[in-house]
């Protein structure tokens, strides 16, 4: 079957039911997307399907046919980190770092859909698990990313 991953067309020959996670990691050696629980409970495997966050450990690869798959490897534009990644660096979010690909993918998707989410909306949307407990800095980084993503003329009206 043919997949489109980070803008590139890629052919894979696997079972239609194989979760996208294992196609990425083991067939394509794209290891930025992580395995955490296998049952969509932790979010370490989060990717985007047509721009929307999707936990890839339970997402059959056949469902991705004809759609655009984006992984953590596709977030950086050339050498430039995205606004979310820059906020992550500014606030020094990662510790072990294992969950952070999934966290960043979840936040990228949230902010694309809702550029100024409330704390409650952030809490409901970002249900990924981080065993290092980086949540406080994640919250701070999300606030910074929200600010930097606002069109310039509206910055003064943004409520942090």
């Amino acid at each position: 079957m043919e997949l489109s991953i980070n803008g590139k067309k890629i052919q894979v020959e696997v079972e239609k039911t194989m979760p996208l996670l294992w196609v990425l990691r083991d067939e394509l050696n794209m290891t930025g997307t992580k395995f955490g629980c296998g049952i969509s409970a932790c979010g370490a495997c989060t990717v985007h399907i047509d721009g929307k966050a999707q936990r890839s450990c339970i997402y059959p690869v056949a469902a991705a046919e004809g759609k655009e798959v984006t992984t953590i490897e596709g977030i950086k534009q050339g050498e430039t980190f995205s606004a979310v990644q820059q906020a992550w660096i500014k606030h020094q979010v990662p510790q072990c770092g294992y969950c952070q690909s999934g966290m960043i993918m979840a936040v990228e998707s949230l902010l694309a859909e809702n550029p100024s989410p409330t704390q409650e909306e952030i809490g409901q949307s970002i249900s990924n698990i981080c065993r290092c407990g980086t949540y406080q800095r994640i919250k701070e980084a999300i606030s910074t990313a929200i600010d930097s993503l606002q069109p310039e003329e509206t910055i003064e009206t943004v409520n942090p």
């Binding site: 696997v14 079972e15 194989m18 979760p19 996670l21 294992w22 990691r25 083991d26 067939e27 050696n29 290891t31 930025g32 997307t33 992580k34 395995f35 955490g36 629980c37 296998g38 049952i39 409970a41 932790c42 370490a44 992984t71 953590i72 490897e73 977030i75 950086k76 980190f81 990644q85 992550w88 660096i89 020094q92 979010v93 990662p94 510790q95 072990c96 770092g97 294992y98 969950c99 952070q100 690909s101 960043i104 952030i122 809490g123 409901q124 970002i126 249900s127 990924n128 698990i129 981080c130 065993r131 290092c132 407990g133 980086t134 949540y135 406080q136 800095r137 994640i138 919250k139």
Partner: protein, 752 residues
Amino acid sequence: MAKKFGRRAFIITGSIFGGGLAVGVGGLTYVNRKLKQFPEFGTPDGHTLNAFVHIQKNSRVTMAIARAEMGQGVSTALPQLIAEELEVDMSQIDVIHPQIASPYANIGGLPDLERDPYNEKFNLQAKIIGFLPLLFTGGSTSVPDAYTHLRVMGASAREMLIQAAAKKWEIATSDCYAENGHVVNKNSQEKVAYGELAEAAIAEKPPKRPPLKPRSEFKIVGKPVDRLDVPAKVDGTAEFGIDARPEGLLFAAMKHSPVIGAKITGVKNKEEVLGMPGVKKVVQIEEGVAVVADNTWRAKNAALKLELDYDPQGNETLSTEGIKTEFAAAFAKEPTLTAEEEGDVMASLETAARVVEAKYEVPYLAHACMEPMNCTVLYNKDAGTAEVWVGHQAPSIAVWRVNDALDIKAEDVTLNMKYLGGGFGRRGEPDIVSKAARVAKEMPGTPVQLVWTREEDMQNDYYRPLVLSNFKGGLDASGKATAWHNHMSLQSVAIDSFGRAFPSLVPKPEDDIGSAEGAMHLPYDFGTRKVDISLLENPVRLGFWRSVGSSQHAYFTESFLDELAAAAGEDGYTFRRELLVKAPRFKAVLDRAAEMSNWSQPLEEGRGRGIALHMSFGSIVAEVVEIILVNETDIKLDKVYCAVDCGLYVNPQIIEAQMQSAIVYGLSAALYGEMTIKDGKFKQSNFPNYQMVKLAQMPHIEVGIMENEEQPGGVGEPGLPPIAPALCNAIYDVTGKRIRSLPLKNHGFKFV
């Protein structure tokens, strides 16, 4: 349980600890071994000045950091120490993980360690650890081990570069100084980059005692510099053990025995499983059966289909209730040992105006690192060598297990240390490495990556022990504590874990005071005290879990202390403070936390707060938790104020992150954590039934770091012990309900 031990480890530890030291570990001091006996590392066009510093031709500096990066920030904090003295900017540093060698041994965990690295009488244990050599990352020891040694390494390399420059210019070394990766000629202001001096510098003798900067001149140490590993951890390029992709890699999944400690005797349906898509091999080992396939998912699906025959070793009736009953029965008998005793507690209790009694308990806990256990091994049968890719806290022990499994020598194993997706003590155990090696042995010439599912990971952990602790405290007529008796009943982590790694080091039960780690040496002036331990044997495998004994004992002691405070009619802060007359350092930390939380100001209706204080791994931490009672059962964690005294420190932003991290890890345990056993099997298997704190429940954590010149303490673990008692004391404050067992979810509370 596999009772296979590294021959090498056994022979060496056996001969050293069992019957006199017959190996040549004398001669060089520890620091000189780092300066003079080291492996080459770094780029071919560069030059290695000592075990830690390699100058590349382009003047970038490669630093050998032999501690595992598991999130705690060692791959930044340790380079900071070298860079400070070497006079290089953090942006000029590349970090590599060196092969196992003597200069990289970790002596930071030794008690009463002589901090002068030049001391010729450096203690015997340090020499033995260096000789083995024993490399490990744990016990919050990385900075205590490195704080002086690594600055000496940076300073020594700097002086060698200065000596080389002085020769080049034909001037005195006193006419040169180092600055930002260059040596500068004081007279001419001419500069030469380290990269141009390195070749000449390696011929220079390391100075006897290079001068170390006074703290007042530090530009990098003690400053909140950015972590070196962050960029790779935001774009998916950081490589963890599970990301190893050597050429020709195959993947393996495993099914362990369903019953704790059972031994596999056969596979009912081997042919059926061999016929499944992508399956290459089915390998039976003592503890389970692995399926090797061309993809992790195919391997996992095939492993799930395995039908195992096993001998349950009599453990099929094991249950949490049964274990608790057995542990509780020990209270009626004489304790195995008394870990600590001061004065006559029993007499003091008899004369006390008031005696308070309480029984506490905690359950087994799994580590649940985000990255499930995994290890990749390539066995080259013909050459008698092996290559290993793993993120591990104890690489020496990991390699000994590979030696055992493949019957090859330690020096024939190449270990590629990867980032650890969490460690927390779990990755100090070599079980996954041993199992991966035994599977790879059946696939010579092909690298095999063994990955456990979350379920296998959670149900085959080395658990934080189930512990019961019974307290009696006495108060005099004025409400002052006069007696403290703690009698605990538990299985020993040290006996279980050392029994696997260093059988000759296993303490006898009657000597195992370590089981009371965190319950002894409390800073409070009780007048009389006694800490008794009843040790029991049990087939559940135990391991070191973030902050180890302190993780449960601080919950017990700091909760019971609050019970005494309540009985005396005092608040937790004042009651503790009055007992800290002989412990000014503790008092200062407690005061700081109280001050940060505005303790003296009354709370609004519906809010509660609690305080706790504990020292572990050389650092003192006090925490105040403030909660909101939303309704009878719903609690909102609002704020945590955390004051930490870790002595001389390296990176305050990493310390802040580690305090937050330990607090969240401790909160997940306090709110939700329990591994329970029924019919010999663990009931919990994945995050839905072994829950974690998530972003929505996150309290705001404020961290304050004490400024002093005390010896550097640990940072990765000490933030954890006070959080459960501070939280439970806050719950008492607002509900009047005393929580004497964890997790809190079993008391009907929900966290919103």
